[in-house]
């Protein structure tokens, strides 16, 4: 199983110009940025695409300015948030019915997405096949049958595998919490 790198390690590799690191960076944070645009700000798909590309363009250009490599997730969230608001204001110029977003509601969604990223990191640590099974079921909304066909597993066993994989993720999250407690 590949060892998952921390956000800070990945950012550090990006700074050093490792060509694979940027691909991994985009892979790791693409869902997060996409979810902020869609679930947080409810941007239409073509507007979300503009913001998505702009976020990664700015991240690429400004990664060197990041004060702490560990802070990349909140930094990206803030950047995405600002660009979504800019986009909504631009849209409101043409269509005044577009109101300013409800800041409290956005904070709530961003808080949940942050937790979702923590769970996602735990899932990455658990690795395959759990990562793939849970990703297909929860994130890609695939049926037991489809998952079974793709992974060549009996469809009847998928539900129990999902359940076992969820337990593993939960254990991973438990371990993380125990590890972060002061001794």
């Amino acid at each position: 199983m590949p060892v998952e790198q921390s956000d800070a390690q990945l950012v550090s590799r990006c700074r050093e110009g490792d060509p694979e690191a940027w691909n991994e960076f985009v892979e790791r944070f693409s869902r997060y940025v996409y979810a902020i645009c869609g679930r947080g700000f409810r941007l239409a798909q073509h507007d979300a695409e503009d913001v998505f590309q702009e976020v990664f363009a700015r991240a690429f250009e400004r990664l060197a300015e990041l004060r702490s490599d560990d802070a990349v997730r909140p930094w990206l969230a803030q950047l995405t948030r600002r660009l979504c608001i800019d986009k909504l204001r631009l849209l409101a110029r043409d269509n005044p019915s577009e109101a300013d977003p409800d800041e409290q509601a956005i904070d709530d969604v961003l808080g949940e997405l942050d937790e979702a990223m923590t769970v996602r990191a735990a899932l990455d640590k658990v690795g395959d096949p759990c990562r793939e099974i849970l990703d297909r079921f929860f994130c890609r909304d695939e049926s037991y049958r489809t998952i079974g066909e793709i992974l060549q597993m009996p469809a009847g066993t998928i539900a129990s595998r999902i359940s076992r994989c969820l337990e593993k993720v939960r254990s991973e999250l438990d371990g993380r919490d125990r590890g972060s407690q002061p001794s």
Partner: protein
């Protein structure tokens, strides 16, 4: 603190995972190609600064001028180049 106490039970883990559906593949690919696109943009901007005729071509029809220079005028490159030329 256990995951029961911090709210990470199996049901919540599933619900949170659902929030992170994958971004469209094309978007991800375009973002991953940024380093190459950035190098291309730097070359085009440098050439526009040194070559007045090329600058005029870009102003007249940016997409055609990019293609004539031998580059793929992807929507990202075109919009980014527009921004860069505006601010330069």
């Amino acid at each position: 603190m256990s995951s029961e106490m911090n709210g990470f039970n199996e049901e919540r883990i599933g619900r949170l995972l659902r929030l992170l559906s994958p971004a469209p593949e094309g978007w991800v690919r375009a973002a991953q190609e940024l380093p190459a696109a950035r190098a291309m943009l730097d070359e085009l901007v440098a050439r526009a600064e040194q070559d007045a005729a090329f600058r005029l071509q870009l102003q007249a029809d940016l997409e055609r001028a990019v293609a004539a220079a031998g580059y793929e005028p992807s929507p990202f490159v075109v919009s980014r180049l527009r921004q860069l030329l505006r601010t330069d």
